[in-house]
């Protein structure tokens, strides 16, 4: 076990975040390490003296801490089976196994570093020129190149977790929880706004967290005020990934519920305040990637947050007060600061040398200084991505050597504050932020009032004007625009690339030399140079590299930074796992009221759209045979059902169906077919008249929603004057079909109030009555199986009761449940077609054999003109019954019907008939082959050919319908 080296773990620091009372043990490349709760993985390792945490992508150069933040390019590690973990941000947890990525055989002795020897052949864009020929060798090249990719490993055995999502609708969303963000949040909340404060780090405070004692005091005060405001929701370890239309903002929450668990929050904010602070830039010089070269913010974090001594002997290049403060912190931590190069006075760093870490630094006057730590403080990058997404085009200030937002381009609902907007003391920044927060709240209240006024669910309109108006507002008057003070802009030296060649993009191993070479080859703009070299395309997405890249390209082209422009910021701001993006899959499922019975009796589930239906309970053929011989019951609840009421229902039915409906009597049922306006068969079903102005329409199961929309569309857009009310009642009824020679006997045992004799209740009629003690039940004398059958619709809550009652009452009659497969066999024997199976998107009604139903003498109906045209032109294809000559062969559905080398049709439905003990089919064929008795040739998927004969009618069993009319 590595104990914290006393020289590197400092005594308690005023602002430290580690909990020395809670040591945590983990492993690093198999070796045990101890840290503390609150340590990051890398801070815990750094405390033990570890300096190298990774190898670079291309050259496998040793890399260490640079920024000590989420955006540190040298600290990506594997934690267990989770690759690409940001080791300088991820908190230590007990028992984790941390390993370096893509190093072999070890991090310390990485054989892949041999790439450095081939460096001249691996310059930026090398893959456009090498590994091209011979072409056949590419697979070998690829396998070699993949071994050098600097990424972790994903185990196929990794458990899949369900990432949750959440929606949020804050009045004010504040991206950035530093002092400006906190001040803005407090101010907005006091103005009555609901505030969502999003901070990337593990705690609020921004740079105050690793600042001076005065900074810590300000932090404590601000944090206390934030906590005291109930209207502020704080999210830490969370990042605003991108801003979209209407101020929709995607937020990644990396931890919630106390665990590492990514969650996506979809926020829609009335106003957004962007307060992300600034990101410190590296300096480009030879050796700038050596372990031991750090940014000033990195050393201040290590010392003040994690109580880790960054080194023993330091050289500092400073160009601003933050660099000066780092010098003070280093000295306080006992680091020997041997030289401070002040860039404001002409100081500079020429190069750093060493192999696995900094050993010496050459400064501007040529002096070579031995050291193990080089600290740079050369300036800042403004992370403007959220502003860019809002339409801003930041402007470069040569005076300050960084970009600033262009407030004139920002939309009304986006404001900006903090270091990204200007400089100044903490007091000036928080005063600016407070004004911005108040103004954001004012604009949000105005937006809220407009939304509430437009929303029918809201309270009375007068209440809307007082919504979200806080105690500072003048009652009854819209608040006046808040004055936002100006922030000063401090001058800063323009330090980007030094006198020697160094790395610009640490993640992609792209150097200043690579960028200059790209420019020389003609890639003269920032975007072109980026794409050719991949600079800014690494895991940091440009945060540390963009401005330096632009500066090097500008220098190489002779243009200014402003003239060169930047690359385009695109969301997500930081990586997000695909699991978090996808979230939990919501897949609605629909069940019949009888599903518990199906489950208990071994039903094999059939997924039919969103429905779970019983496909079979055992042998489907036996189920079908039982229906023919005794009686069977099938759950047909998914059948679409529409309740139609009103005096104009017959008009509607005449319009939608191809047949006539004006004279349907009460108690009668009629089969109907609907066509779309192109004459293609849309749906079929039966409609019964239950009362004077009351009808019940059935549709196919899969067509239920479509037909409802179809009906409403006609009523609302074409005939709003018709008095018809349509109510979907598909699942308001539990529906079951009782079919077979014993069906009437079974129904009689459970039904009251209905005369079931054939004379009183003939085929294609409907009655209402009491079934199994349930009143208001609907009883149809219809069928799909070709047998005597009754379709029962009972209020759905009683469905299971009725089903169980029927099963019990019919035990001696041989009652048995049958599933969808048996029904398909039975209906095929009877010759009933299924819309969407025996018809397709081109099958007009005449081609489906519906000549008998189509009444072209009606005034009008949907599809009439097209059907009239079809009839006049001649029907080119027809649906026919088919029986293979070899009765044992059951051709697969969709098997082609061929005539020589041409396709003349296809099998649409095909089964072995248990009743006839032979194969039977329905098929679409060219009209010339549709004559009964015609022999056609069927090509099986195997390529074999069989002969089949066209039958006189679609029905293979009981074509005259005597059984169903019994």
């Amino acid at each position: 076990m590595s104990e914290p080296t006393s020289a590197l773990r400092l005594p308690p620091q005023p602002g430290e975040v580690i909990n020395r009372g809670e040591p945590l043990e983990f492993t690093w490349n198999g070796h045990p390490v101890r840290g503390y709760a609150g340590d990051t993985i890398v801070s815990a390792l750094a405390a033990t003296g570890e300096r190298v945490f990774s190898r670079s992508m291309k050259y496998h150069r040793p890399r260490g801490l640079l920024s000590a933040s989420f955006h540190d390019p040298g600290c990506m590690v594997q934690v267990g089976d989770e690759p690409n973990v940001r080791g300088a941000h991820r908190l230590v947890a007990g028992g984790i196994a941390v390993t370096s990525q893509n190093t072999w055989p070890s991090l310390r002795l990485d054989a892949k570093a041999v790439n450095r020897l081939a460096g001249r052949f691996l310059t930026a864009g090398f893959y456009y020129k090498t590994f091209m020929r011979p072409r056949f060798a590419w697979p070998a090249y690829e396998s070699v190149l993949r071994r050098f990719v600097n990424a972790g490993t994903v185990s196929p055995g990794t458990a899949h977790t369900r990432a949750e999502k959440r929606h949020a609708h804050p009045d004010v969303l504040i991206a950035g929880g530093g002092p400006a963000g906190m001040a803005a949040a407090i101010s907005a909340a006091r103005a009555g706004a609901s505030v969502l404060l999003v901070e990337e780090e593990h705690a609020l405070g921004g740079h105050l967290r690793w600042g001076s004692e005065a900074d810590l005091a300000v932090l404590a005060e601000l944090a206390g005020l934030v906590a005291a405001e109930p209207g502020i929701e704080v999210l830490t370890d969370a990042v605003a990934l991108g801003r979209y239309d209407g101020n929709s903002v995607a937020i990644l929450e990396r931890r919630h519920g106390g665990a590492e668990a990514e969650r996506l929050i979809r926020a829609r904010a009335k106003t957004m305040v962007v307060a992300p602070g600034l990101i410190e830039r590296p300096y480009v010089f030879a050796g700038n990637d050596l372990p031991g070269v750090m940014l000033s913010t990195a050393v201040r974090r290590l010392i003040n947050l994690y109580a880790v001594k960054p080194g023993q002997r330091a050289v500092v290049l400073t160009a601003n007060p933050d660099g000066d403060a780092a010098v003070a912190d280093l000295k306080r931590a006992g680091v020997e600061v041997v030289r401070v190069e002040d860039a404001r006075l002409g100081g500079d760093i020429v190069a750093a040398t060493g192999r696995t870490g900094v050993r010496a630094v050459q400064v501007a006057d040529g002096t070579r200084i031995a050291c193990d730590l080089l600290v740079t403080a050369v300036g800042w990058t403004a992370p403007t991505s959220l502003l860019n997404a809002a339409g801003d085009r930041p402007v470069y200030s040569p005076q300050a050597a960084r970009y600033f937002p262009d407030a004139a381009r920002l939309p009304e609902n986006v404001l900006v504050t903090g270091g990204i907007a200007g400089d100044g003391s903490v007091e000036e920044l928080t005063a600016h932020a407070a004004a911005v927060g108040a103004e954001a709240a004012r604009r949000a209240a105005r937006t809220a009032a407009a939304w509430i006024a437009a929303t029918p669910t809201a309270t009375a309109p007068e209440a809307a004007t007082t919504a979200a108006v806080g105690p500072d507002a003048e009652a009854g008057h819209e608040e006046s625009v808040r004055h936002i003070p100006e922030l000063p802009v401090d001058a800063h030296p323009a330090l980007f690339a030094g006198r020697t060649n160094g790395f610009v993009d640490f993640s992609e191993d792209v150097s200043a030399k690579d960028l200059r070479a790209a420019v020389a080859e003609g890639f003269r703009g920032a975007e072109l140079a980026k794409r050719f070299t991949t600079a800014t395309m690494g895991p940091l997405q440009g945060k540390l590299e963009t401005v330096n890249t632009v500066a090097v390209v500008a220098a190489a082209t002779g243009a200014t930074i402003a003239e060169t422009g930047t690359t385009t910021w695109r969301p997500p701001y930081v990586p997000i796992t695909l699991g978090a993006l996808a979230g939990r899959a919501f897949e609605p499922v629909r069940y019949s009221p009888m599903q518990p019975w199906h489950d208990a009796h071994g039903a094999v589930p059939l997924v039919a759209g969103a429905w779970i239906r019983p496909d079979r309970y055992g042998d489907a053929a036996a189920e079908a045979a039982n229906v023919r011989e005794h009686v069977g019951i099938i759950d047909v609840t998914p059948i679409g059902k529409l309740d139609l009421r009103g005096p104009d229902v017959p008009k509607l039915l005449n319009l939608l169906y191809v047949n006539k409906w004006s004279k349907l009597e009460i108690g009668r049922v009629r089969y109907g077919v609907m066509c779309a306006e192109d004459g293609v068969v849309l749906d079929d079903g039966v409609t019964g008249r239950l009362g004077e102005e009351h009808y019940l329409m059935s549709t196919t199961s899969s067509g239920a929603a479509t037909i409802w929309e179809w009906v409403e569309n006609w009523l609302q857009t074409e005939h709003p004057d018709w008095r018809v009310h349509v109510t979907p009642v598909t699942t308001g009824y539990a529906s079951m079909n009782v079919a077979g020679p014993q069906a009437r006997r079974l129904i009689e045992r459970v039904t009251k109030d209905v005369d079931l004799s054939n004379e009183a209740f003939p085929y294609m009629h409907v009655r209402t009555g009491t079934i199994a003690g349930v009143s208001d039940s609907v009883l149809w004398r219809i069928g799909f199986t070709g047998e005597l059958s009754y379709e029962i619709h009972v209020p759905a809550g009683y469905g299971l009761h009725v089903w169980e009652t029927l099963m019990a009452a019919g035990a001696d009659l041989g009652v048995a449940a049958f599933g969808v497969e048996a029904q398909r066999i039975l209906r095929l024997e009877k010759g009933h077609f299924i819309v969407g199976q025996d018809t397709d998107g081109l099958t007009k009604a005449f081609s489906a054999g519906l000549d008998w139903a189509i009444k072209l003498d009606k005034d009008d109906f949907a599809g009439k003109p097209e059907l009239a045209w079809q009839l006049a032109q001649g029907i080119t294809t027809k649906l026919v019954g088919l029986q293979p000559v070899d009765s044992s062969v059951v051709p697969e559905e969709a098997s082609l019907i061929v005539d020589g080398d041409t396709i003349a049709g296809r099998i649409t439905s095909s089964r072995m008939s248990p009743t006839l003990r032979r194969s039977i089919c329905l098929a679409q064929v060219e009209a010339r082959l549709a004559e009964p008795g015609t022999m056609v040739t069927v090509r099986l998927p195997s390529g074999g050919l069989i002969q089949a004969r066209v039958t006189p009618q679609h029905a293979h069993v009981d074509p005259d319908g005597g059984r169903m009319r019994a």
Partner: protein
């Protein structure tokens, strides 16, 4: 022949009892008060859908516009669920009892096309109660649940867990409460989705007690 008992699409959490002719859960949640979070299957409630001209006499007599819900003197919750469409929620078994009132009201609006359909069995309906309720719903629905946009008495249709669901904010005792109903066959799915979303807030199932509205 056994007496018919009606069942919800949601299998009741034990203990299972029969109330008002419905098989329901007799469970009592352990946590109480507004900070508790409970989910109750209220499917047994009577649900009658009305259709009438959006700006006619019948609509005026109801007095509840689209997007709002309010109780009438008899305690029936009248919901303006759509333009020219209302849903009446009443205690179990009241569909027949509502008819005379509806017929009388229709008679007062001659010439208007007024119809009603008993959807008691066609809709699954649940009550989500407690101060965390909006946070639960924020995990399964993108609607703004703030008091300004969806105050007590708001009624609307939205996608909840990818399912078309009608939502009514119906606060109880000053605590936030939402009635959610969907077509019956998806009831089990919606109930489970709400339970899963509420697990983070220690949601409990609470049994149904008539009148329940």
């Amino acid at each position: 022949m056994p007496e018919p008992v009606a069942r919800s699409p949601v299998a009741p959490a034990p203990p299972v009892v029969v109330k008002a002719g419905w098989e329901v859960s007799g469970r009592r949640a352990d946590a109480t008060g507004a900070s508790a979070l409970t989910l109750t299957d209220c499917t047994p409630l009577t649900k009658v859908q009305l259709r009438a001209p959006v700006d006619g006499e019948f609509a005026a007599s109801l007095g509840v516009p689209f997007g709002r819900a309010a109780r009438d003197p008899d305690g029936t919750l009248v919901v303006g669920s759509g333009p020219g469409e209302w849903l009446l929620l009443a205690a179990p078994g009241q569909a027949g009892g509502l008819e005379p009132m509806l017929e009388e009201a229709a008679d007062q609006a001659p010439g208007e096309s007024v119809t009603w359909v008993d959807l008691t069995h066609g809709r699954a309906l649940f009550r989500l109660y407690g101060s965390p309720a909006a946070r639960v719903l924020a995990k399964v629905c993108g609607i703004d649940w703030s008091d300004g946009i969806t105050p007590d008495g708001a009624a609307f249709r939205a996608s909840v867990a990818a399912l078309a669901t009608d939502v009514i904010r119906d606060d109880v005792g000053g605590a936030p409460s939402y009635l959610l109903h969907c077509e019956r066959s998806s009831g089990r799915y919606l109930f489970d989705a709400l339970l899963a979303a509420g697990a983070e807030f220690a949601i409990e199932i609470d049994g149904f007690d008539p009148p329940g509205i």
